[in-house]
């Protein structure tokens, strides 16, 4: 996993609540057995005018010019502004894979669905939670200012706006540590191998039916 330390990037505002993972990456693309290549099909049903299927040449498909991700001014965006409960629905990790493959490094929203939030951290994407009143300001600025960029620093947990003002955000220490250092979660857990073995021994005594 790529580490996330600091990132300055173009911001795209996706102004709708309850964006679900079926919208982020439709089910037909989940048939892939790979982790990569989902970016061209991110938000597929909103981004294109036709029905997408795996294996299509996406560069030849008719695009929906009314969808915000397709606006010329947002090309190359790497920071996504979203509304409440972003990433609700299915547990598919293909959703953060698609966001990451498209080029997003961070999402900023007032709230997320739990599984999606968790999956982001496993894939080098920083999901930031901000209050609704600050979100409204960011939405307004991103929509009214062409080339609007935010500078996100994980170490100091700050977002710097173009006017130089900073916004603080919270992130859980363990998640921050792993993301900041790009650490392999499994490797960290395996450092506690002895605790796992001890637990298993005790559990075997208490619930032997699970071990027979």
């Amino acid at each position: 996993m790529d580490a996330f330390t600091q990132h300055k990037g173009l911001v795209v505002p996706l102004d709708r609540a309850n964006v679900d993972t079926d919208a982020i990456i439709p089910k037909q693309f989940l048939k892939s057995i790979k982790r990569s290549g989902f970016g061209p099909n991110l938000f597929d049903e909103w981004r294109y005018m036709d029905h997408g299927e795996p294996g299509m040449d996406n560069s030849k498909r008719p695009i929906n010019e009314e969808f915000v991700l397709n606006f010329p001014r947002y090309q190359g965006a790497s920071v996504l502004l979203a509304r409440e409960n972003f990433g609700c629905g299915s547990s598919r990790e293909h959703a953060p894979w698609a966001l990451e493959d498209y080029g997003f490094k961070a999402v900023i929203a007032p709230s997320y669905a739990d599984i999606f939030f968790n999956n982001c951290f496993k894939n080098g994407i920083l999901p930031i939670v901000l209050d609704n009143n600050i979100m409204d300001v960011l939405f307004e600025e991103a929509e009214s200012t062409e080339g609007y960029q935010l500078d996100i620093d994980l170490d100091s947990q700050t977002i710097t706006r173009p006017n130089g003002e900073t916004i603080k955000f919270d992130v859980e220490p363990d998640r921050k540590h792993c993301l900041y250092n790009g650490l392999d979660d499994i490797g960290i857990t395996l450092q506690q191998e002895q605790s796992i073995t001890d637990y298993e021994e005790a559990r075997k005594q208490r619930a032997p039916w699970l071990f027979s």
Binding site: K27, L30, K31, I33, G89, P96, T189, A207, W209, L210
Partner: protein, 485 residues
């Protein structure tokens, strides 16, 4: 100190608490399927790791297996979609290579992961269980801490039998009273979601309790816990009682002999203690719940069948107002019109929410002696597993459905998420017993209305939504103690 059921399950699985506030939690069992496991197995291979405990994993293909009899007769080679075929084959290969037990496409025990776990007694009270699928909350009906995870965590559990987690908050959803005639577990959970919203349970484990929940069968409790995630909660729970223990007894993976007695003793403590603290409490009266129908593109967009479609003009919150407007446009519905006036093009009875034997019976009771309306293009019934199908056929339910004009299919996730060929065409309205009515969920441009099996069968017969309380239901001999009542 008095503990909630969730507190007890958490404490019982705590391997280590870390100074940074996270905890290492032991995972007793994992279910695997073809869609969210290939990259996890690949990760193990790349890192040179092996599953820590093979017996703690059970696999089956479900999401994109075909459900037509013709395709299924040819087994795996009958899968016409070449990409789906690769995915199902990859599961076969990974299970063979690593030695994971699999109920493959030809096995009578194959089915939807959340149907086969309980059916096999693989799901047990007191467990922690995960699966790369958000509807894993289903298994909480047995007093187990079960939740959906992403593929990275599927790999994590394979390799370590543990997960790094933060403890969630406790929410109690209490439904007291007696459910009315024709009102089912599905209506209860849809009413709960309508009440608290799709994000209402975010960050929480929900325990469902109260006399109405106690009165439900295990199938009904599974339907309720299954949709906890649609209220934002990864974990749904119901306390263990005699029904739980009776259901588990004698199933293939259930404890036997001395272990059984020991297990039952341990399971009897799996309930929230008197006076345990819940961060949030929501109460509903069973008598207030009518059969429910979703009208929009989120499960919280739900109304009683007797209700009308909301008018965005009455909504003050601008984000919600826009959400209603967008949903009405996508669903092609008019504000203030009657729910019962919505015409239905297709009907889907199945999914991990409603494809168990009781669901089949509930739908058959309505379908018996009736015909699918001529205006309905397709009505399909997809049992949740090979064993559910076998049982339903032994009871003659398949004949009831076929005589009424329904298609009787092979087990799988089918049109719940339309990864296989079962899907809606753009613009079609579907009465569906599944769990999500998101845009495009059942096929691009498709319009999903979530309902109970009885309500779906009634919609098939009438061609539009119909209050199942207003129609006569044929009692089947097998449903004297259950069914739609």
């Amino acid at each position: 100190m008095a503990k909630t059921l969730y507190d007890k399950l958490w404490d019982d699985h705590l391997v280590a608490e870390n100074p940074d506030g996270s905890a290492l939690i032991y995972i007793d069992r994992q279910l695997l399927h073809e869609v969210t496991s290939p990259q996890a197995f690949e990760g193990l291979k790349i890192a040179g790791r092996k599953p820590r405990r093979l017996e703690a994993n059970l696999a089956t293909p479900d999401h994109n297996v075909p459900t037509t009899n013709k395709e299924r007769q040819a087994g795996i080679s009958g899968i016409e979609d070449p990409i789906s075929l690769i995915q199902v084959k990859t599961l076969d290969e990974n299970c063979d290579e690593f030695g994971v037990t699999q109920f493959d496409i030809d096995d009578i025990r194959q089915g939807i992961v959340h149907v086969i776990g309980p059916e096999q007694g693989y799901t047990l009270p007191g467990l922690t269980m995960v699966c790369g699928d958000s509807h894993t909350a289903t298994h909480g009906a047995f007093g187990a801490m079960a939740f959906g995870v992403g593929t990275s965590e599927v790999e994590h559990v394979l390799a370590t039998q543990c997960l790094r987690q933060k403890k969630m908050k406790n929410m109690l959803v209490k439904v007291d009273g007696k459910l009315g005639y024709g009102v089912t577990a599905k209506d209860v959970v849809l009413a709960v979601i309508g009440e608290i919203g799709t994000a209402g349970g975010n960050g929480h484990a929900i325990e469902f309790a109260g006399t109405a929940i106690e009165g439900l069968s295990m199938e009904g409790r599974m339907t309720i816990c299954n949709m906890a995630i649609e209220a934002g909660a990864r974990v749904g729970l119901v306390a263990v009682d005699d029904k739980t223990i009776e259901y588990v007894k004698g199933r293939p993976f259930a404890p036997q002999n001395d272990h059984w007695d020991m297990a039952v003793k341990a399971w009897n403590d799996l309930h929230s203690d008197e006076g345990a603290h819940f961060d949030t409490v929501v109460e509903l009266k069973a008598e207030d719940i009518a059969p429910q129908v979703t009208w929009g593109t989120s499960p919280e967009m739900v109304k009683p069948v007797t209700g009308t479609i909301p008018n965005p003009a009455n909504e003050d919150n601008p984000v919600k107002k826009e959400g209603i407007e967008r949903a009405l446009e996508y669903m092609n519905l008019k504000a203030d019109s009657a729910i019962s006036s919505i015409p239905v093009d297709k009907v889907f009875i199945g999914s991990c929410t409603n494809s168990r034997i009781e669901d089949m019976r509930e739908a058959a009771e309505v379908a018996k002696g009736r015909k699918v309306a001529a205006s309905v293009k397709q009505a399909m019934v997809v049992p949740g597993s090979g064993l559910v199908k076998e049982q339903a056929e032994a009871e003659g339910l398949d004949k009831i459905f076929v005589e009424a004009g329904f298609e009787w299919r092979e087990p799988g996730c089918s049109m719940c998420l339309a990864m296989n060929a079962d899907r809606l065409e753009p613009g079609e309205h579907c009465a569906s017993t599944s769990n999500r009515n998101f845009e495009g969920r059942q096929g691009q441009g498709g319009r999903t209305h979530l309902v109970s099996p009885a309500m779906a069968a009634a919609a098939a017969v009438y061609g539009h939504f119909m209050d199942v309380r207003d129609i006569e239901i044929s009692r089947l001999s097998t449903t004297e103690n259950g069914g739609a009542e």
